[in-house]
């Protein structure tokens, strides 16, 4: 039965959807992490405040509630989005609210001497961040960033609830259709997520090894307990 096309075909499509929504969510999430993280350190109070509200709002509410609100409630008073857009936007904004702290923590962990040397070399504030501080912070950001990506992948299962045919959705449809036993279907789904997560972890580890070349700080500098 496991060679059954009626089983694998839908799952393959589901994997593709899961990967897409995860990818778009991660792209937005990364952007928002950096934007909000840098904003939280701005010297302008208003900018810090906006970042703070964003972080508190998305961390304070539940991703599934946000998703339902954007998909079911928002269209009643404002714009409506396709499930893919609603999913990617919710996941991305959510990730950004956690990534914000990751970025801030890593940037602040770069030794002060690096900023001082940059000033002594007369770099502009932008150049300082772009070429000196951020590249060093990125190394310690990577491990927690990898964790956030995996959390994002896990949260992507929520899009099945707004009719997007991802892995979880496929498992549910096949269950209703009685294509295979529930044990088989949900085991497949879990293993698929696990494999994708391991893939993400691997890529992050490779990137980390690459980025930390020659760095004294290097591995583990930004690793957080749990």
């Amino acid at each position: 039965m496991l060679s059954d096309n009626a089983l694998w075909r839908p799952f393959l499509d589901g994997i593709w959807i899961t990967l897409q929504v995860t990818f778009y969510g991660a792209a937005l999430g990364t952007f928002m992490s950096v934007l909000s993280g840098l904003a939280s350190m701005s010297s302008v109070r208003g900018v810090r405040w906006v970042s703070r509200v964003y972080v508190d709002f998305f961390r304070g509410t539940s991703a599934i509630v946000q998703l339902f609100w954007i998909f079911y409630a928002l269209p009643l008073i404002g714009p409506s989005f396709s499930p893919m857009v609603a999913g990617a936007v919710t996941l991305g904004l959510n990730m950004g609210s956690y990534g914000s702290e990751v970025v801030r923590g890593a940037v602040q962990a770069v030794p002060r001497g690096q900023t001082e040397a940059s000033i002594a070399l007369n770099l502009s504030a932008m150049q300082r961040m772009q070429y000196v501080i951020f590249p060093q912070a990125a190394v310690s950001m990577l491990p927690p960033y990898g964790n956030l990506l995996i959390e994002l992948l896990k949260a992507s299962a929520l899009v099945s609830l707004i009719t997007l045919a991802d892995i979880t959705f496929v498992a549910q449809v096949l269950r209703v259709n009685g294509t295979a036993s529930t044990l088989t279907l949900f085991s497949i789904a879990l293993v698929l997520y696990f494999v994708i997560a391991q893939g993400i972890a691997l890529v992050v580890r490779l990137a980390e090894a690459r980025l930390s070349q020659g760095l004294e700080v290097g591995r583990g500098a930004g690793r957080r307990a749990a």
């Binding site: 304070g60 339902f68 079911y72 009643l76 995996i150 044990l183 307990a225 749990a226």
Partner: protein, 218 residues
């Protein structure tokens, strides 16, 4: 469609009822996660590789797969093996199991944060294992552990609405039910979101304060 205050006011009691269920599920879930997490942490610390190694993989597996699918698994697969539980029980079990993989890491980090010298000094003073754990290691590990556990408590609280997908009438479950009956989704989902904010923001502030206070302790 515009916001209907009267309707919002009318459905509030049902949502609050849902909130009670949400809080119940959270408290039961975190209790289970704290106990199971301790078990997992100890199994992982085991010197027998046949124990520590599979435990590590099980933790990794549960941690990197969606709670939603795990809930479906428990809810739909259990009965095919004659294991039928109520929706809330299933949900609490799922939450507890999922978060146990996080709390086990917290415990591990807490225990590892105690310097080796402390163990060595305890050995040198000939303290019993019970005294070593109870009077030396845990008092130093717990301040590290508590804020992290607090954060997972809040995280779990926000994951409880997933239980709505297996028919638990938590905040979201109630909101959905109200929506299905009245065909009004704006108020129930907005209020549901606000209820979460109303609980988690003060809770996060509390945890942050706790963290600061514990960090300041000598």
């Amino acid at each position: 469609m515009t916001w209907d205050w009267e309707f919002a006011w009318r459905i509030m009691p049902r949502l609050l009822e849902g909130l009670v269920t949400t809080v119940q599920a959270t408290l039961l879930g975190i209790t289970l996660a704290m106990v199971l997490g301790l078990v997992l942490a100890m199994l992982r610390r085991s010197e027998v590789r046949a124990i520590s190694w599979p435990t590590a993989w099980v933790v990794e597996f549960i941690r990197s797969t969606p709670l939603l699918v795990q809930l479906y698994f428990l809810y739909f697969v259990g009965p095919t093996f004659g294991l039928t539980m109520g929706a809330l029980t299933t949900g609490v079990l799922g939450l507890g199991l999922h978060y146990a993989t996080y709390t086990s890491e917290v415990y591990r980090a807490g225990i590892e944060s105690v310097p080796r010298g402390q163990w060595e000094a305890s050995t040198a003073l000939n303290l019993s294992p019970v005294t070593t754990w109870g009077r030396v290691v845990l008092p130093q590990a717990i301040p590290v552990v508590i804020p992290a556990l607090g954060n997972y408590l809040i995280a779990m609280f926000k994951d409880v609405p997933l239980l709505a997908t297996i028919t638990v009438l938590d905040v979201l479950g109630e909101a959905r039910a109200v929506g299905a009956q009245s065909f009004r989704y704006l108020e129930p989902y907005t209020l549901a979101g606000l209820l979460f904010l109303a609980v988690s923001i003060p809770a996060s502030i509390l945890v942050r304060q706790l963290e600061v206070r514990l960090a300041r302790r000598p």
